[in-house]
Structures are given as structure tokens and as C-alpha cells.
């Protein structure tokens, strides 16, 4: 019984790519293009930075060349994103499109949809959101109530989506909706996905302000929004299968253990004067991040092989999002008003502590993911 594919060393080919990204990041830091931040894949919306990445070929890396992409491997994309997150770089603008819309489009999109969206995603000109959660459907996605009604030449979609990161800036999102009434015996049947233009008539994007005043989440109300047949995503009735195939991409990536890495980096520097450098807890956290880097790499390899590693992805996310929070708490426990620290440290830490509550919720709560792991162990 193995929950996670075997982990191995990554070889020298990847070292060159890592070096390129690090050189780029060092240049940008020196130029003051960005300040390392916590959760920068969710909160760090910087379209200029996104375009800089696009110029270097680091967006839509896995998109084949005939769709305007770079034909790189999923492993190579993993390396680039890992480097960007470790540096706390602002990658939120393109994050969703690059992470899960690209593989979903490649797998389920029509030729027209691929030609429409992929080249623009690769150029850093088209940003996406996620339209899964609803006010009454958090972890229980099969209970979505957004309805799509058949019309001549398309569909009419009505309902409310929540927690749609960046919907106030993005161009489109993929909406999960019911196209058949709920069949209690087959709850996962009758669901379908639609590509929805966030500026279309009948779409109302309303901010959901986070407890620290930040705005990245939104509520998106769809009131009789017309979706032409050309924007049906995948097959009608196959929504559940399509959504769950996205989840392995969403759950196993480096953003599930590196969201607070800039805190860990700064802790090594800022807290050294207090003897924290010899703190065993720091060692424990560095060890866990290292182990998660190995494990997440192994899952990326499985994705590259075309497997559907939903269980190992759940393992990465449960462990990784916990350690992200542990890092925030580690730093917070050692920072009081008796300690002279700079404003940048306090800002970083405050953001980490505020964001922490979301780590183990977004992308599937850890409680739901433990159920996924239990299923993988044959207990459900």
C-alpha cells in the first residue's frame, strides 16, 4: 500500500531552469519590481509582473506550440512556479489560468476554445477565476444550485458563485452548474461546466472583503446569463468528472506548502539575533517543507505521466497547508512587543497570521481531504 508515488532526486536538467528563474527574480528584487509577500499567489495581483513572466516563456508552459505555448513539461512548470512562490513573487493574476484552466482546456476544451483562450493565457493577457463554490455549497460541491437551462443555440445560467478569487479583474471563469435535477441516487450526475465571460450581461461581481480588509474574493451573481453552445466546457453531464480532474492540479502544487515561505526565510535572518537559529522548531519546519518539496515533486511527476493522483494530492495538501500555518504561528509565537523588529517583518507576519485561517480551507478543507485519503486507504 503506497499513498504517494516514490520520491527521487530531480537531476541536473532542472538545476539550469531553477538557476534561470532565480537570476530573473534576483534582478526583479534588485529593481524593486516586487516585495516578497505571503500568499502572493492569491493576493499578489500584478499584471506587469505577469507579462514579464510571459516574455520569458513562463506562462502556459505546458501549452503545445500550435496553441501559442511553449510545449514544456509539467515538471518544468512545477519548477518555475515553485521558484516564484518560494520568492513570494506576485503571481495571482495568472495563477488560476496557468494552474488549472490550461490543463483543463487541453483535456476538455474544443479546438475553438483552445485557440480562443490558450494563446492569450500564454501571453499573460487573459485571466481566469473558478466558479465552483456557492453560498450553500462549500466542500459539498455536488450540491451546487446554479442552474443552466437549455435555449436555442446555448444555455441560460442563473445562480450565485462565491470565493471567486480575482473575479473583479479576471476575464472569465468556468462555472459548475446543474443541467439536470438532482437524482439522490446519483448526486454527481447532471452537472456541467460553462465558460462564462465575467463582463457578460447578467453577471454581477460583488466584493467579499477579507477580515484584514483585503479584497481578492468575490461573489458572482449570474442572472439569466446567456452562454452560447461554443462556450459549453467539456460535455454536458460530465461536470463532476471534469471538476475532480482539475482538483489534483489544484491540490498538490507548491502553493500548498510555500504560501508562508517568505516568513521562514525572514525568520532565519530576523530571529537569528535571538538565538532562534538554534531553535529546534525551526529545524522541524525546514525539514517538513523539504519533505513536502520532495512529495509535491513526486505528484507533479505523476501528473506528467498522465495519472490522476487525487489521493497523493490530498496528502500533500493536508500536510502542506498545516505546515504553512505552523510557520506563521512559529514566527508569531516568537514576536512580541518586547522584541525590536522592523515594520517589514511585522507586516509580513500580520499578513501570514491573517491568511492562515484560509490555508486549510481553500481548495477543499483538510477534513474533506482526510476523507479522500481514507478512501485511498480503502476505509470508505
Amino acid at each position: 500500500m503506497r499513498l504517494v508515488p516514490p520520491a527521487g532526486t530531480t537531476g541536473t536538467a532542472t538545476a539550469a531552469l531553477r538557476a534561470q528563474v532565480r537570476e530573473f527574480l534576483a534582478e526583479q528584487l534588485a529593481a524593486g519590481t516586487f516585495t516578497p509577500a505571503v500568499d502572493a499567489w492569491l493576493c499578489g495581483w500584478d499584471e506587469n509582473f505577469t507579462r514579464l513572466l510571459a516574455q520569458r516563456g513562463w506562462l502556459g508552459m505546458t501549452v503545445p506550440e500550435h496553441y501559442g505555448g511553449h510545449g514544456r513539461s509539467f515538471d518544468e512548470r512545477f519548477i518555475v512556479t515553485e521558484e516564484l512562490l518560494a520568492a513570494g513573487a506576485p503571481v495571482a493574476a495568472h495563477w488560476i489560468a496557468d494552474r488549472q484552466i490550461v490543463p483543463s482546456l487541453l483535456k476538455y476544451g474544443t479546438e475553438e476554445q483552445k485557440h480562443e483562450f490558450l494563446p492569450r493565457i500564454v501571453r499573460g493577457e487573459c485571466f481566469f477565476g473558478i466558479g465552483m463554490s456557492e453560498p450553500d455549497s462549500g466542500s459539498d460541491l455536488a450540491s451546487v444550485r446554479t442552474r443552466a437551462m437549455r435555449l436555442d443555440g446555448g444555455w441560460s445560467v442563473s445562480g450565485t458563485k462565491v470565493w471567486t478569487s480575482g473575479a473583479h479583474r479576471a476575464h472569465a471563469f468556468i462555472v459548475l452548474a446543474r443541467t439536470e435535477p438532482v437524482d439522490p441516487a446519483h448526486r454527481h450526475a447532471g452537472l456541467s461546466q460553462f465558460i462564462v465571460d465575467l463582463r457578460a450581461p447578467g453577471v454581477d461581481v460583488r466584493p467579499i472583503i477579507s477580515m484584514n480588509g483585503g479584497h481578492h474574493f468575490n461573489e458572482v451573481i449570474l442572472d439569466d446569463v446567456f452562454i452560447p453552445d461554443a462556450m459549453v466546457f467539456g460535455r454536458i453531464g460530465e461536470g463532476w468528472t471534469q471538476v475532480t480532474s482539475e482538483l489534483s492540479f489544484e491540490r498538490s502544487g507548491p502553493e500548498r506548502f510555500l504560501s508562508t515561505f517568505p516568513v521562514l526565510t525572514d525568520a532565519v535572518e530576523h530571529l537569528a539575533v535571538q538565538g532562534i537559529a538554534r531553535d529546534a522548531e525551526l529545524g522541524r519546519l525546514v525539514a517538513r517543507v523539504t519533505g513536502l518539496h520532495h512529495m509535491s515533486t513526486a505528484v507533479a511527476d505523476a501528473l506528467q505521466r498522465g495519472e490522476a493522483p487525487d489521493v497523493p494530492a490530498a496528502v500533500v495538501k493536508v500536510l502542506g497547508t498545516t505546515v504553512e500555518g505552523d510557520i506563521a504561528d512559529f514566527a508569531d509565537l516568537r514576536t512580541g512587543d518586547d522584541i525590536a523588529t522592523g515594520d517589514s517583518w511585522r507586516d509580513l507576519l500580520a499578513h501570514a497570521v491573517d491568511q492562515r485561517s484560509g490555508f486549510t480551507l481553500r481548495g477543499g478543507t483538510n477534513e474533506v481531504l482526510r476523507g479522500v485519503i481514507a478512501r485511498g486507504l480503502g476505509m470508505r
Binding site: T10, P312, M379
Partner: protein, 354 residues
């Protein structure tokens, strides 16, 4: 130093016939000797050792020209894991991976004696107990002369050995060696470093095997035991306990697999190897806390008895995680290495990419 035909970073690739053969030897043995180890004397059954020897398993990684089987640490990891799963206590690792390897590496002859390694503590420093000294025929003794390490392949009769055991009954003996009259062979400092790395990593391998076994046992128990009209595994609270244990064990395994791959691909010389072994010890050590707690919680009172075999895995994991340095020791070492790397190189350290 890589096993033939194995791409870098690939899973173990160990021949499945070998794995099956190892499994059946230990399973047969436990079928015939179905008692949990209960103290000194139960460890290192010479008859079993002889059987393993005839199968070529006690010198698994030895060079074939010296009577070994020419296998790698990957095969040896499978051997150690099988012994752990079946609760069979033998000095397989200490004999093959440490003592006989060291003799071979320094050009010494190797015979069929059972061996372990003893490092003489430097003057004024406390020495820990020596694994398996009391049951070995010979000890490969290393001592510091003040200018270099030297090594001798000593008959145990030439040493003063006070028996002791660890929590699970494995010999952990106090050895007194008067090396003042010995000449011995000089040992390069790199070999001593390699010895210490190997000794540390083999405990990670053993802990991982024990944790995987405890998780598997917990799953089996939770799916077969019924309470309140349902199998235990149908309760979310139980699922959570087992899922967390399984996740911790998987993290320990990932860290240990990477440390082993780095070791084998670099011939134990990678500049990142010391850090990666420390990481494997930290992850495995902390995983042992969670897996032990959760596995016993899932098993209920029956798991706390001598009769039930869960303790053969959980107590072993807790024992081995504290040998060759406590978990705290390894955590502090990682912390120090991270601090020495500094904020600019922390990520390079983690990814083993300069």
C-alpha cells in the same frame, strides 16, 4: 554508484522475486516463532542468521569477489523493511551496511563472522551504547588517535562488553576497548563521515518501515472491527486518525527515499546529503509521534497488550528514532544548517540546487 539500469530518481526497481523471497523467509520464521520479542536473547537467532546467509542475504551489499551478493542499499532497504514488518530483530544493517562495508572499504578481509561497529568515544566525551556488540563475533572498532581515525577488526574476546538492551530488546551494549596497544589501519575522515551518515539513514529506513506497518495494521483493524453496528473505519473520527497517520508516514518515506537516492547517485558524497539525512530523521521522528498515538488510539486497549503485534512496530519506531541522535538533535542540526545557509540560500538548500 547507481544500480545498473536505474534512471536517476526512479523508484527502487528492486527485483520482485527477491522481495517475495525475503518476505517468505521472515513470514515462515514468524509462523514458527510466533512470540513477540521480550528482552535479551530473543534477538539475533543464529539459526535464522544461517538461513539468511545461505540465501545470500546477510552480505547483500558485499562485493561478489568477497562473498557478497553485489546488491545495493535499495535491495538492503527491502530486506530491513521486511525484518521490521515481521518483528524480526537481527543486526542485518549493522553487519552488512556498516561493519563489513567498512572492512571492504579499507581493504580488510571479511569472513562469515557476525559483526557490528564500535566507535570509541573521544577522551572526555560520553559514549552511547553500541548496537549488537554483545551478540556479534567481532567488532569493527574505530578510534581517534589524536591525529587520525584508525580501525581494527577485533574479536569480542579482546573487549569488555557489558550487556544492555533498548526498549525493544535489541542489544545495546557498553563496550570498553583499550586501544592503546593497537596499531590498526588508518581510516580516511571521509569514510568516518560516510559511516555516520549510513548509521543515521538506516534508522530512518527502519522507522519508515515500522510506520508503514503500523498504518497498514490500523487500516486492517478499522475495516474489520465493528462497533455501534458499523466498521470503525466508517466513523469520520477514525478516518481522520488513520489519514493523518498515513500522511505523516508518507512524508517520512518521501524524505527518506530522496536522501537514499542522493546517497546512491552521489556515492554518498553529495554536499546536500548530510542535510537530507537530517531531514529524513526529523520527518521520520515526528511522524513516529503521530503514527504511534493514532495507531494505538484506533486499536483501542487490545493494541496496548503484549499479545497484539502493534507494539512490535510502534515501540520499534519510537526506539529507533532516538538512536544515532534524538529527533531534537536532528531538528537543531537542521536549524543550524539553515541558519548557516542564510535567507538567500535556504531555498537552494531545500531543493538541493545551488
Amino acid at each position: 554508484m547507481r544500480a545498473i539500469g536505474m534512471p536517476p530518481g526512479a523508484p527502487s526497481g528492486v527485483d520482485s522475486d527477491l522481495i517475495d523471497m525475503i518476505e517468505s523467509v521472515f513470514a515462515d520464521y514468524r509462523h514458527a516463532h510466533n512470540r513477540a520479542d521480550s528482552g535479551p536473547g530473543s534477538a539475533c537467532d543464529r539459526a535464522l542468521w544461517q538461513r539468511l546467509d545461505t540465501l545470500g542475504l546477510v552480505r547483500l551489499t558485499g562485493a561478489e569477489e568477497f562473498g557478497g551478493s553485489g546488491a545495493s542499499w535499495r535491495e538492503s532497504s527491502e530486506l530491513l523493511a521486511a525484518a521490521v514488518r515481521h518483528g524480526v530483530r537481527l543486526p542485518l544493517a549493522e553487519h552488512d551496511l556498516l561493519a563489513c562495508w567498512l572492512l571492504e572499504a579499507t581493504g580488510q578481509p571479511v569472513d562469515s563472522s557476525i559483526r557490528a561497529v564500535h566507535i570509541v568515544p573521544r577522551a572526555g566525551r560520553p559514549g552511547g551504547p553500541t548496537p549488537w556488540a554483545g551478540v556479534a563475533d567481532r567488532l569493527v572498532v574505530l578510534w581517534w588517535t589524536g591525529t587520525q581515525y584508525r580501525l581494527a577488526d577485533a574479536d569480542v574476546a579482546a573487549l569488555t562488553i557489558t550487556p544492555g538492551t533498548n526498549l525493544i530488546g535489541e542489544p545495546r551494549d557498553t563496550v570498553q576497548a583499550d586501544t592503546s596497544q593497537w596499531t590498526g589501519q588508518p581510516v580516511a575522515p571521509e569514510l568516518v563521515t560516510e559511516l555516520k551518515r549510513k548509521a543515521a539513514l538506516l534508522r530512518s529506513i527502519q522507522v519508515c518501515a515500522a510506520l508503514d506497518g503500523a498504518v497498514a495494521m490500523s487500516v486492517a483493524h478499522a475495516t474489520s472491527r465493528t462497533q455501534f453496528g458499523r466498521p470503525l473505519g466508517k466513523f469520520q473520527a477514525i478516518q481522520n486518525l488513520v489519514a493523518d497517520a498515513a500522511a505523516e508516514a508518507a512524508l517520512a518515506r518521501a524524505a527518506t527515499e530522496v536522501a537514499l537516492s542522493t546517497a546512491l547517485e552521489s556515492g554518498w558524497t553529495s554536499e546536500y546529503l548530510g542535510f537530507q539525512i537530517a531531514v529524513s530523521r526529523s520527518c521520520a521522528g515526528h511522524a513516529a509521534s503521530v503514527v504511534t498515538r493514532n495507531a494505538h488510539q484506533v486499536h483501542g486497549a487490545i493494541g496496548t497488550t503484549h499479545e497484539h503485534r502493534l507494539h512490535e512496530l510502534t515501540r520499534a519506531a519510537l526506539t529507533w528514532r532516538s538512536e544515532n541522535g534524538s529527533v531534537h538533535f536532528w531538528d537543531k542540526r537542521i536549524s543550524a544548517v539553515a541558519a548557516a545557509a542564510g535567507p538567500a540560500q535556504l531555498w537552494a538548500l531545500i531543493t538541493a540546487t545551488p
